[in-house]
């Protein structure tokens, strides 16, 4: 790795405090949305508030980007300060301050931009819930953007942790948005609990960092790191990257902790697009990029990240191939693409990882929003076997074609933005000196082929082919019918041809807000390719690379993946060719091959897909593959058996002990003892005066006998 320099020392710049508005505006919007909820606002006011606030936030970030000249620390106010001595490890400071470097701005640019667009989309998407849950939804969105801002822009790991937990909370609130549905509640709980596991690792990592360096401010941390660490305790520093890694795996749904993300699709689709595809799940990537220097504390730390990323990419892609719920397909593709990003981080190209984050954010948000539009229009229909030919239906053209853009980008079709970002990662892996990284590179290539297949499986099924559709499970919903009537009132033509009307169901096509956002996102997906185009065709410096090189992730932002210039430095070849040429050829082949296979099975001859499945199932030596893929490799079931079952058994045991021993014997037993004693003596309490007299006499006699006995003993 060639060092593109070291981390530039941050300058303290209080005059830039206006950048804090980027965090403050979403918080303000959250408060206003809460007020709207309290005042029972029935209009689209919360959406307006949130959109304006997020647009303002985005504007602030853009302005900050143009004002940016080098890393700065912007103090806002003193937050937590403890001192119990004058020494190095005897104070703890966590100020509310912003650390603005190019990585921060890079992340915030797409977070706030996508946030604004998706809020506009959601204002139409959520209109059926106007009044009831509208304020709640936009409150959650605002809280999410506020937390994401704190996570990305915070000056220290405490603020990062605050944002980390905040986005987890927002995710929980929004996944469980339809809280009347048990499955949504289950999914929200699952997401929250699995994130807790990761958060524990992150928290421990932060503790370890403080114990080892005595500070949590990024600037001081990087400086201390350069000095080699001054431990206050005799602990192994090398455990830090692994702890941080667990946090990143949890938030970004990597292999041990990935099962929550597909279930999180229970939330409204804009939430899936923004939180569970574009922004929140990339927080893990951000964390590793931000703390990249610390991942070299242990030689195998980055290798672990690479292996986890590579295997997640492959496993998620195989699962995605066999799902019929297209929203779930996209969820698994998200996990798979996140795996790519981790692979990139692991093999040492933060540039590739962060560039892929950016491109992925756009095309995956686009895909989810098109999926949401379809779902919205077809009453919650998510089964790709029950929808077909959307391309030819009036009112659905924009959706179909923007979806095609998203699919091409996801399958890394040659010379799309994602092609370059994925290429940067695979190139780094394939040209690595380490054999296992090269193997992971080939795994990544195979995964790219699978990705192309399952992506176009969705598109060919839904958008191409003969027109055919079935209504989803929400078709008899009263609120749906109302909104459908509204669209009639506004003079929209009925998009359904008369001959294909299925009873009372008429799909309603998206209006301007959804369509406009889809078009903007499609354009954005194209635009994010420009840095790569400029680099490849005009030999300009890649903008993303420049952004990475001046941040804490500089070590992975090396320029080696130059197409056409730095080829001579590589000792590795791809299929005997120059790595650049070879990778372009192989990558294009994988992508186009996957698309062609999908075309054959899902458009040209749809029956053959089922025949192939049946054929696979008939052969005993191969039948486990489709079964495992359709059942998501039984990961959920294994987790249930390994973790939930022992806990459940333990809980039953403790419950039994609590009920029968603590409650039954100790508590109730204590109560039963006086009851039993009372039962013995109750006959004495008959109310008859003479019974009491007998008891009294007996008592006197007993006491006298006792006294006499003591007295007699004294004599003898």
């Amino acid at each position: 790795m060639t060092a593109a320099g070291s981390i530039p020392q941050a300058v303290i710049a209080p005059e830039l405090a206006w950048v804090g508005l980027a965090i403050l505006l979403p918080l303000l919007s959250a408060i206003l949305c809460a007020l709207c909820a309290a005042l029972r606002v029935k209009s689209k006011l919360p959406a307006l508030i949130t959109t304006v606030a997020l647009a303002g936030s985005c504007f602030v970030i853009v302005k900050a980007y143009f004002a940016y000249s080098g890393p700065v620390e912007v103090p806002i106010f003193q937050w937590i300060t403890f001192e119990w001595g004058d020494g190095k490890f005897q104070s703890f400071t966590a100020d509310c301050a912003l650390y603005i470097d190019s990585l921060t701005l890079y992340w915030m640019l797409f977070v706030t931009g996508l946030g604004t667009l998706i809020t506009i989309y959601a204002s139409e998407y959520m209109e059926e819930d106007c009044g009831k849950g509208y304020s709640r939804f936009f409150f959650g969105m605002s809280i999410f953007l506020f937390s994401m801002g704190a996570l990305v822009m915070g000056d220290n790991l405490v603020m990062l942790y605050l944002g980390w937990e905040g986005v987890g909370l927002a995710s929980y609130l929004l996944v469980g948005y339809y809280y009347e549905r048990p499955s949504a509640v289950e999914a929200a709980k699952k997401a929250f609990i699995m994130n807790r596991i990761g958060d524990l690792g992150l928290a421990l990592g932060i503790f370890m960092l403080w114990c080892n360096y005595g500070t949590l401010q990024y600037g001081e941390l990087f400086a201390a790191m350069k000095d080699g660490g001054q431990t206050s305790v005799d602990w192994d520093l090398s455990v830090i990257p692994f702890l941080l890694m667990i946090g990143a795996f949890g938030k970004s749904a990597q292999i041990p902790l990935f099962t929550w993300l597909p279930d999180a699709m229970e939330g409204p689709t804009p939430v899936s697009a923004l939180i569970h595809a574009a922004t929140m799940v990339t927080a893990g990537v951000f964390l590793i990029a931000r703390m990249y220097p610390f991942f070299e504390l242990h030689p195998q730390a980055l290798a672990t990240v690479a292996w986890v990323g590579g295997s997640t990419a492959l496993v998620a892609a195989t699962i995605g191939m066999a799902q019929y719920d297209f929203k779930r397909v996209f969820a698994y593709s998200t996990i798979s693409q996140l795996g790519y990003m981790f692979l990139g981080l692991g093999v040492g190209t933060t540039f590739g990882a962060c560039y892929h984050t950016l491109t992925h954010a756009f095309f995956k948000a686009l895909l989810f929003l098109t999926a949401g539009a379809i779902m919205h229009g077809f009453a919650g229909q998510l089964d790709l076997r029950k929808l077909s030919g959307l391309r030819q239906m009036p009112g659905w053209r924009i959706v179909s074609w923007t979806m095609l853009v998203g699919c091409l980008w996801l399958s890394a079709f040659p010379y799309t933005a994602a092609f370059f970002s994925k290429d940067a990662i695979l190139f780094k892996a394939l040209t690595s000196e380490r054999g296992d990284f090269r193997f992971l590179g080939w795994v990544g290539l195979a995964t790219a082929g699978l990705t192309a297949y399952y992506t176009f499986r969705v598109w060919f099924r839904i958008c191409a082919g003969p027109v055919h559709y079935e209504a989803g499970p929400e078709s008899h919903d009263q609120s749906h019918d109302q909104s459908h009537d509204q669209s009639h009132d506004k003079g929209k033509p009925d998009p359904t041809p008369e001959g294909e009307s299925h009873g009372a169901f008429h799909p309603h096509a998206p209006r301007w807000a959804i369509n406009g956002v889809l078009v903007i996102l499609a354009i954005g997906a194209v635009v994010v390719g420009f840095p790569a185009y400029g680099h490849v065709f005009a030999h300009k410096e890649n903008w993303v690379q420049a952004m990475m090189a001046s941040s804490s992730a500089y070590q992975g932002a090396c320029l080696e993946s130059d197409h056409g210039t730095g080829a001579a430095v590589h000792t590795q070849t791809v299929l005997g060719l120059d790595p650049h040429t070879g990778l372009t050829i192989v990558g294009s082949t994988a992508s186009i091959g996957g698309i062609l296979i999908a075309w054959y099975f899902h458009l040209y001859s749809r029956k053959s897909a089922d025949q192939l499945r049946a054929a696979l199932l008939r052969r005993w030596w191969i039948r486990w593959v489709p079964i495992c893929m359709e059942n998501r490799w039984y990961v959920d079931e294994i987790y249930l058996a390994c973790f939930r079952l022992p806990m459940w058994i333990g809980a039953q045991i403790l419950n039994f002990g609590d009920r029968h021993f603590l409650d039954g014997v100790l508590v109730d037993g204590l109560a039963k003892f006086p009851i039993a004693v009372g039962k013995v003596f109750r006959p004495l309490y008959s109310g008859a005066l003479q019974s009491y007299a007998i008891t009294m006499t007996g008592g006197v006699a007993l006491v006298l006998a006792w006294v006499t006995w003591i007295w007699l003993r004294g004599f003898n």
Partner: protein, 114 residues
């Protein structure tokens, strides 16, 4: 010499005193047992009189033993109290009898829980 002594100053055997005490104890206990066993309220009060008898006899015996008349004076007080008690308690018994038309003490169990 004993012949010269006035009445009350003649020698008395110690066994006579203890015999009187034994009788007093027996009277007291029989009165007690009667009080506890009999259900007729009038008889219960009669049994308290029996216990009074036992106590008075003990007083007399001790007065004789110490040749001190205070014990006899207290017996006179006991008689007073017994008379007062008889007057009042029997009046109350008559009232109770009017209420329930029976003398049984079982008729009065308001102290019980039911």
């Amino acid at each position: 010499m004993s012949g010269e002594l006035a009445s009350g100053f003649t020698i008395v055997a110690g066994s006579q005193i203890s015999l009187a005490l034994a009788i007093s104890a027996l009277l007291f206990v029989i009165g007690l047992v009667g009080f506890l066993c009999r259900r007729n309220m009038i008889i219960m009060f009669l049994c308290t009189e029996l216990m009074f008898q036992g106590a008075a006899l003990a007083m007399i015996a001790f007065a004789r033993m110490r040749m001190d008349v205070s014990g006899q004076v207290f017996v006179i007080f006991i008689l007073t109290v017994a008379a007062a008690e008889a007057a009042l308690a029997l009046g109350l018994v008559v009232l109770l009898y009017r209420r329930r038309e029976t003398l049984s003490s079982d008729a009065w169990s308001e102290l019980g829980e039911s």
